[in-house]
Symmetry: C2
Amino acid sequence: MALDRAEQALAAIRESGGRITSDRRAIIEALAASTEHLTVEQLAERVWTRHPDVNLATIYRTVELVEHLGIGFHVHMGHGPSRWHLADEVHQHLVCSVCGAVTDIPDETLDPLREQIVSTTGFVVDAHHFSLTGTCAACSRVA
Amino acid sequence: MALDRAEQALAAIRESGGRITSDRRAIIEALAASTEHLTVEQLAERVWTRHPDVNLATIYRTVELVEHLGIGFHVHMGHGPSRWHLADEVHQHLVCSVCGAVTDIPDETLDPLREQIVSTTGFVVDAHHFSLTGTCAACSRVA
DNA sequence: TTCCGTGCAAACAATTTGCAATAGA
DNA sequence: TCTATTGCAAATTGTTTGCACGGAA
């Protein structure tokens, strides 16, 4: 559950020699509590409901730390800011360019594509860093 | 060939009611002359070798115009600025996150993945807008 | 002549950074 | 205590915009 993920992240920070501060705890708990992929600004809003004094720069630094430890990731979805999430398991993101809806799909969905690309070009695809854009079911129907 | 693509783009601008200026001609020819995917800054450098007075804002505006007409595209490759190219045909981009090398692959490579995704989720993947990241053959070998 | 296109400089959004003050371990 | 973390404000990077002037058609 969410809190476990937060505790895991905090433990990882401690293990890596970092300190557990109240700011970091607040930021990581807010991130863990969300099932969505949050921009730094969205994350800040949630943190600030309980901890209004946490600085934006601290959020940027924490989120970067968490990524560096391999616990969190950021994804680019369309234009605009990066979006962050704690990772239980790697997954891919489909972002509708019409309505902005995000659909998560399992990482293995890309395996056949990966095999084909690696066998023809030697390139190892590893992309959860960018989302796949297109048109979601609802918006395709309309168009 | 490159000049043809430039002339095509200029013709499309004229057809859409736009004017052909020396700035636009210089920008589009520089873009057409490159096989690479250029950032606005790289494009500017090339334009400036012959036309040093073209303003950066004009390059941004021209490149946006060309995309709006469906002749050019921008792709996001890793972090940093967007990269632009005139489109003969849509293709996908593999970007090595170690060395930055770009490998182009045909758009059809994604067709099986598209089919699977559309049949399971209804989502129509259309993504040449984002590149696929990973590790290229050379860098995989080292690592 | 009539607008479209351009230069310029300022505005912008997202993010990063230097440095002194502060607070975990 | 000792050093990692934070706040603050300024710097950066990439890009967009308002507006008056100048040049295609």
